[in-house]
């Protein structure tokens, strides 16, 4: 008797394998390594006692208190939608308005919080400040904000490095994050 060997149909196997592969590709959450980048200043001990006078006009003061309320240049602000434009105007003033910055090089955005400020609020404002600078940089080289951030994230190619340096020429991202005050929180 010719015994037929049992055969499993395997034409669909590739389909199943691909289906599984796709399923895992979609569902696997890759650890999130995106966010707001920042360079911290040198250690407090290493800094020589500062005697540098920064002119009032070159300083854009942003303060957030322990109940997350915002103070911009001494004025309370509820709606943050206009803040980005205000910062851009301040940085690119180039001495036109006597109450605003001398030049982009001298402009400093000072950001002070309280120990009781929530991280959510801190990130929200920091996002706006950095966004203002990225907008300026992107304008310098005529690309979109998103494209500039892409370039800035990958400085391994010469092309990107050149564009990045051109964008930042004369406009340092001077965000000063001050030691928080001790009103709220521990």
């Amino acid at each position: 008797m010719a015994r037929s060997t049992p055969d499993i149909p395997n034409a669909s196997m590739a389909d199943i394998a691909f289906l599984l592969l796709t399923f895992f590709l979609v569902t696997t959450t890759i650890a999130n390594d995106k966010g707001l980048q920042l360079q911290l200043p040198p250690p407090p001990e290493a800094q020589p006692p500062e005697d540098v006078k920064i002119q009032e006009r070159n300083m854009f003061k942003i303060q957030v208190n322990s109940s997350d309320a915002l103070l911009v240049e001494g004025e309370p602000m509820d709606d943050v939608s206009g803040l980005k434009e205000q910062i851009k105007k301040f940085v690119l003033n180039r001495g036109v308005d006597p109450a605003s910055s001398d030049s982009p090089e001298k402009a400093i955005v000072s950001y002070k919080t309280d120990r009781g400020t929530s991280h959510k609020r801190f990130i929200e404002i920091l996002d706006i400040i950095q966004g203002a600078y990225y907008d300026i940089y992107a304008d310098q080289i005529g690309v979109s904000n998103a494209k500039f951030r892409e370039i800035a994230s990958d400085l391994t190619t010469d092309d990107n490095r050149r564009l990045y340096e051109k964008a930042r020429e004369g406009i340092p991202m001077a965000i000063s994050i001050a030691e928080p005050t001790k009103v709220g929180g521990n």
Binding site: I8, N10, D33, Q39, E150
Partner: protein, 155 residues
């Protein structure tokens, strides 16, 4: 004679059609289990949203610090804590921790270590500022506040 002939006609190969299935199954098994073996995070992680995100180039240079309210509040209290690896640490331990992390990197890349701060929405600036001060002392000054992309991104 005929008896021997008959025997040599019998098929002797093992069916191999299911072997790829087995291989894939093993692959997926390991994919899933390696995910599970990652450090479990014992602090709340409601990550804030922002729009101006930047990507980190090299993952090998990144090390994580988790800050937030402990998940087991009855055991650890409600005050936000710092988690490094598997343990809770105090701000004063950060210099030591940074140096250990730096030791894991090749010598020429130690100054490029980036600390990724994964901070809960409700954590206060106070504890984060303490961490930042210690990071400055430890000379690990590249920092990343991990955030999610804002959903209504206007860009």
């Amino acid at each position: 004679m005929s008896k021997f002939r008959k025997k040599s006609n019998v098929k002797q190969d093992i069916p191999t059609s299911s072997m790829p299935d087995v291989v894939f199954m093993l692959l997926f098994f390991f994919m899933v289990t390696t995910q599970l073996r990652e450090t479990s995070i014992d602090v709340m992680q409601r990550i804030p949203e922002a729009s101006q995100l930047r990507k980190l180039q090299r993952k090998s240079l990144v090390t994580n610090l988790y800050i937030g309210e402990p998940k087991k509040t009855e055991q650890f209290g409600k005050e936000p804590k710092i988690q490094a690896g598997d343990v809770f640490i105090e701000p004063k331990d950060i210099i030591l921790w940074v140096n250990r992390e730096k030791d894991k990197l090749p010598e020429n890349e130690r100054d490029q270590l980036t600390v990724s701060l994964k901070v809960d929405n409700e954590a206060k600036r106070g504890i984060i500022a303490d961490v930042e001060t210690e990071l400055r002392r430890a000379n690990a000054r590249k920092l990343l506040y991990t955030t999610l992309q804002t959903r209504d991104d206007k860009k």
